[in-house]
Structure formats: C-alpha cells, structure tokens
C-alpha cells in the first residue's frame, strides 16, 4: 500500500507492474526472496517519507551484515532515483552524480564504494541512451535493476565459489589473509565437496580480521592454524596456495586489499607459490596505481602494548596495492581471469 501511495508521484510504478516484473523476471523459486526484498523496499520507502540524505541511506545498508560496500552504495543510489523529482534522464543523471560524490566524500578511501558508484552511473548513462524518450520507463528499469543488485552480488559470490573451489586440491594447505566473504564461501564450498584441506590465517593486526576468518572456518570444521602476521614467510614453504579477497581490482590487474596482502604475495612469489584472488567483478575499479602512494591514504588507529614516547611516529595504512606480477589468477563472477584480462573487462565497460 505504501507503494500505491508512492505511485501518486510516479504513476508508472503500480502494483500490477511490480507483479508483472516479478513474473516476467523471476522464476517461481525466486519469488520469496523477491517479496522479502520488496518488503525491505517498503521499509525504506517509509523511512524515505522523512526524506533522508543518500549518505544516511548508505549507512543504513552498510549496517546490513552480508552486504558489500558497493552493493550498499548502489542501493543508496537507487533510493536517490526513487526520490528524485527529475523530469529528464539528464537531470536524473546529474542528481545521481552529485549523490555519488557525496558518498565518496563520506568514505573517501573506499575503493569498492567508488567502483560501485562508477558502475551504477555507467549503467545509468547507458540506459539513458536507450530510454532517453521516456524518463519513467528509464527510472523503472534503473530502480528495478538497482534493487536486484544485492542478488546479483550474492549470485556473483556463488559463481566465484564454484569456479574457485576447483583449485582447492585435496590435502592442500591454503594461506589466506584478512576477511573476505567470497573467500570464506569458496572454502566452505570446497569443504562441502569433501575435499580435505587446511587453512592458515595470519591474525591481521590491529583489527584481527584473520581471527574472524579463522572462527568462521573452524565453525564448519575446516582445520585452521592461526599465525602472527610476521610468521608468513615462515609458513610459506608448506603452503600450497595463497587465496585472498580484494577490496578493489584495478586496471593493471593488480589488487588493492587490506594491509599485508602485498608482502604475502611477494613472499609467495619468492617461493613460487600461486596467489589467487577471489573478487566480484563490481570491485573492478578504474584506477591505475603505480605504487603504494597512489592509493588513497587513510591510516587506521593502532594500539601498542606499552605506551610510546609522544615524538614517535606510528603509521598504519589500511590497505596496500599488490601489482599483477605477484598474482596468478583472479576468480571472478566473469570466470577465472588472468590479471591481464581484467583491464580488458574494464576497457569494454568504458569504451
């Protein structure tokens, strides 16, 4: 009924349209999730009456446990479309641009956020090219796709797990790093396929992301060894492969991930061990960092056991850049890619 209320603003969005969309787009088994989704949609709409900024919206979605940054961003942007009173696609686009700028301001350093926004804007421009004559049709299309994006991301995760799990050999030892939903689901899938392997997690100071991963994996009965971040080189000789997620995949085919990935990759390379990266394709970002300084710099607070003299400088950047030369393959929802293939995809997106 909320929808009907909203329908006054946008006559096109009607119950029957929604149902049509549902029928045409979703095979039966998809329905429940869709309905649930629409439910959240309704919620959001109610909140929307106290029309809030895109940033708040973003924070709201960010709060959801298994939603990636990019997804949250796109959802926020979709909300923007819903709210927008723009009458032309052009106007809409401008609105969205502004919104995405806001978001980027909100989380300056987040690569995937930027990537998400980029992706969506790109999509908007393409649709506007298609549907320039009828703004409403265009909005429908955008909203609808935007709302399904969370599903897309989940689906992507499944695909990645599937393509990646083949690489997990029976009886192998995997070194991972940080926490990544994709990596975890990939490992879980491999384990469910009856493969016996063990995982080594560096603890990941200061925020102990590694410990978090270790927990999740032990929960499903995968043997995990927790080591200090400094122990990587020590264990590398008995590691069969390195597998980690990525916050962003850049045009060079390298990745940007939380601090420590680079050193692991370097050590792995020294030992001639393969380094695999699992990352959804919406994390592909239009960046071409040449070295670490090209990354947006935002140090995280770090605590030390004993108090330090005030004049001592402490630096704890949150992420580092790993060049493609250190990576073997990327598992993405577009299939398994060699680092060099990544730029291809990006080029195709923006040509």
């Amino acid at each position: 009924m909320a929808v009907r209320w909203q329908a006054q603003g946008q006559p096109a969005v009607t119950d029957e349209w929604l149902s049509q969309a549902a029928n045409s787009r979703h095979p039966p088994e998809e329905r429940p999730s869709v309905r649930a989704h629409r439910l959240t949609g309704d919620l959001r709409d109610t909140r929307e009456t106290a029309n809030m900024s895109v940033v708040e919206d973003f924070d709201y979605w960010r709060g959801k446990p298994d939603l990636a940054v990019a997804v949250a961003a796109i959802k926020a942007l979709t909300a923007v479309i819903k709210r927008s009173k723009a009458t032309t696609m052009m106007g809409l686009e401008i609105e969205l641009k502004r919104a995405s700028e806001e978001l980027k301001e909100r989380e300056k350093s987040s690569i995937s956020l930027a990537a998400g926004c980029e992706l969506f804007l790109r999509f908007v421009t393409r649709t506007s090219a298609l549907e320039h004559e009828d703004i409403n049709a265009g909005k429908e299309r955008l909203i609808e796709r935007g709302e399904q994006f969370s599903e897309i991301s989940i689906k992507a995760r499944q695909t990645i797990s599937k393509v990646g799990a083949d690489f997990v050999r029976d009886g192998c030892t995997i070194l991972t790093h940080g926490v990544s939903r994709v990596v975890v689901s990939l490992l879980k899938l491999a384990a469910s396929q009856g493969k016996h392997f063990s995982v080594i997690c560096p603890e990941g100071r200061p925020d102990g992301k590694g410990i978090q991963t270790a927990r999740e994996l032990t929960a499903v009965g995968i043997p995990v060894t927790l080591i200090l971040d400094t122990g990587v080189a020590y264990v590398m000789e008995r590691v069969d492969m390195v597998l980690c997620g990525a916050e962003g995949v850049v045009e060079s085919g390298g990745i940007i991930n939380n601090l420590g990935t680079y050193q692991i990759a370097v050590v792995a390379r020294a030992f001639n061990k393969p380094v695999y990266v699992a990352a959804e394709s919406y994390k592909f970002a239009r960046l071409y960092p040449l070295d670490q300084r090209d990354l947006p710099y935002d140090p995280k607070p770090v605590t030390f056991a004993e108090p330090l003299p005030p004049n001592m400088k402490v630096d704890n950047p949150s992420r580092d850049y790993t060049p493609p030369s250190c990576l073997t393959l990327l598992f993405t929802d577009l299939g398994v890619l060699t680092p060099s293939a990544v730029s291809d995809e990006l080029i195709q997106l923006y040509l």
């Binding site: 969506f120 060699t338 997106l349």
Partner: protein
C-alpha cells in the same frame, strides 16, 4: 546410427586406440557433425535443442578420455558455432550475407567475428553486469544462456526454413572447423621463416608432425642446426633426428639429460604441445618442463607450436594428476628386470610413467598457432574469440 558412431568412438577413446590431439579433434568434429545431421527433430526447432544435444554427447566424449582436452575444445567450438548461427539467423535475414563472411574464417577473421558476436551473445561481462542476465532468470545453471533465451523469444516467428537453414549453416561451420583442424600444421609451418634464422641452433625434444613440418619449411630457405633430445620414454626424438637428417638439416641427437648442458649453445627451443590451457600454461610431452626451465635459465626463447584446436578454456587446477595420463611402467622399467621387486613383501618399486608435463605460462616465450604468434598472456583473448563463455563449463 549416430549413437552407434558415438559409442564406437567412445570405446576407442577409452582404449586409447585414438590418441593424439589432431586425430581426436578431427574425429570429434566428424562425429558431432554426424550427430547434428542425424538430428531429426520436427522443425521448427531451436538452437537451444541443438546445443543441448551437442552438450550431452560432448560430456560423454570428454568423459571417455578426460586427459585429451582437444575433445572438449572441439565440442565447445561447435557449440560456439551454433550460438553464432542462432544469433545471426535471429537478426533479420539481411544480416545473413556478412554473417556468412564472418563465419568464413572463424580462425582467420576471428577477432572481428567474435567482437561482433560478443555484443550479440552477451557474455557475462562487467559492462552488462547490471543488464538482465540469465543467471537471474535461472540461478545455479550455467547452461542457461542468452542465446537460448533469445531463441526462446523467437520460437513463434522461427519457420521450418529458418530452422533448416540454421542446421545447414551449423554443418557448414563444422565443415570449416574440420578443414581448419586438418591443415593447421601447414599454416603454422608458413610462419617458420619469421622465427628461424640463418645458422641458428634449434633445440627440440620429442617429435610431432607439426614440428617436423615447421622445421622442414624453415630448411627450404635457411640452413640451421637442430639438436634433438630423444624424449624418453617414447624416444620419438630418434625418429625426428633421422627425418631431419634426411632433410639435410645438420642434426645432433642427445639424451634428455643433456638438454641443460646443450642449452648454452642454443638460440631457440621449438617444441610441439599437447594442449594449451586458458592461462597460457602448456601440457606437453613429459620432459619439456625441464627443457623449458633450462631455456629460462639460459634466457633462450621457448617457442611452442600448437594448433588452435589445442587451445582449451580450462584452467589447470592440479595439472600433474588431473590432466595427466599415467602409462604403463613398462616404458620406464623392463618387467623382467623388476619382476622380483613387485611383491609387497619385498616392497614394490613405484614406477609412475606420466605422459605429460605442465609448463607454467611464465616459461613460455611464444605460441605459434595457425592464427599467428601469440604471447601467453594473450591466450585468454584467443579463448574469448573461439568459445562462448557459457560453454567453459560443460
């Protein structure tokens, strides 16, 4: 009829009576053509049906000898052809003409064709991530492809003529594929002169028809030295050495163990391959990995000759067991000699006899295919050209 054919082929594959990627590839194509030709579905029928048909047979064939990647490649190639045809026939008939042109050279004019088709085929790509993709319609099934969805959309309009035409075109396409497969080696040989120069020392190992053609082609214009490693346990290097000597190439035959020692004097290593993986890694007769490393150590270019039909969209996970074929130990050790070490009490001697080596891409300098020379890092592009992403997983 078609089934009997397939069965026969499958048994031959299982018994390893059909071996070697060229023969296998060719035969696979022939069999599939037969299958499609024999398909007597009441028209109008859909490309999707053909695709399913081919996939089913394809799975069987691949299962018959999983180590022979050429089978899978050909199956995927055929599927790709069908999809293309479907798209073209879907687009209004005016387009047919230049489509034919496109189809004319899936090998040669490949890139143009493929780029053209990629838009149409709508493979999962970043740019259309937000487009309605089949994954959303049928989650969890890779077989679901846009091509099918499209074809479904056109079920009504499609007429007998159209479907007949589709089939006809597909068979045409397969015929071209067959011819391509048949004379890839001459295409490769043509490029010999670009790579082999006067008075060079070429090291090779084992024997393959392609390799021989390549060298003999070079011999016509250039005089060079060939160093042939025997290629244990098959020792087909001996044969190659003879053949080269007959051609008048100054030939040196060495044992595999002498490769490293020899490498210092070598200008280029040219070898044949069994298959090329999607990451640019190579499956080649056992012993070549060693040679490749030696070449790397001495910074000698390591060139791999391979027909495009050996190009596989599969990535090597666990290449040394999964994709390898372990032959009888008799190749390694004489039964008579070892028979007293064969009972468990005295502890048996392990005598694994792997047929292939996996050579990681970083050791390969260049692929010379019938489509020209390529860098290992470029292989994924070639794959994108010749296969539809939906078919990577059969």
């Amino acid at each position: 009829m078609a089934d009997a054919l397939v069965e026969d082929f499958i048994t031959k594959l299982k018994r390893r009576q059909v071996e070697g990627s060229l023969v296998t590839a060719r035969k696979t194509a022939l069999v599939l053509r037969q299958v499609i030709a024999a398909e007597r579905k009441p028209a109008p029928y859909q490309a999707s049906q053909l695709i399913e048909l081919v996939k089913n047979y394809g799975r069987k064939l691949i299962a018959a000898n999983p180590t022979e990647l050429a089978i899978g490649n050909i199956v995927r190639r055929v599927l790709h052809i069908i999809r293309e045809e479907d798209v073209t026939s879907a687009s209004h008939s005016a387009a047919n003409t230049e489509d034919d042109v496109e189809r004319a050279g899936p090998a040669g004019g490949g890139i143009a064709a493929s780029t053209g088709n990629r838009t149409a085929l709508l493979a999962p790509a970043l740019k259309n991530l937000l487009e309605p993709t089949p994954q959303l319609q049928k989650p969890g099934s890779d077989s679901g492809s846009v091509a099918e969805s499209e074809s479904k959309r056109q079920e009504k309009p499609k007429s007998d003529r159209a479907s007949w035409r589709l089939k006809h075109n597909v068979i045409e396409g397969i015929n071209e594929l067959i011819t391509e497969v048949e004379n890839f080696s001459s295409l490769i040989a043509e490029q010999a002169l670009e790579h082999i120069h006067q008075n060079e020392v070429i090291l090779t190992m084992g024997r393959s028809k392609t390799l021989l053609n390549f060298l003999s082609e070079a011999k016509k214009k250039r005089s060079f030295q060939a160093v042939v490693a025997e290629g244990a346990p098959r020792y087909d290097g001996h044969l190659l050495a003879k053949e080269l000597a007959v051609l008048g190439v100054q030939t040196t035959a060495i044992t595999d163990a002498a490769v490293f020692a020899m490498m210092a004097r070598v200008n280029m290593v040219v070898v044949g391959a069994h298959a090329v993986m999607a990451n640019g890694g190579v499956l080649a007769p056992v012993g070549l990995h060693m040679a490749a490393l030696a070449a790397k150590r001495h910074a000698v270019p390591f060139v791999v000759l391979c027909g495009l039909h050996k190009l596989s969209p599969v990535f090597p996970h666990d290449p040394d067991t999964l994709l390898n074929d372990f032959k009888s130990p008799s190749g390694v050790l004489d039964f008579g000699e070892i028979s007293d070490c064969l009972d468990s009490a005295a502890g048996r001697v392990h005598t694994p006899n792997p047929f292939f080596d996996y050579i990681p891409p970083e050791l390969v300098s260049l692929f010379i295919t019938d489509g020209g020379g390529h860098n290992p890092s470029y292989v994924y592009r070639l794959i994108a050209e010749f296969y539809s992403p939906e078919d990577y997983v059969l």
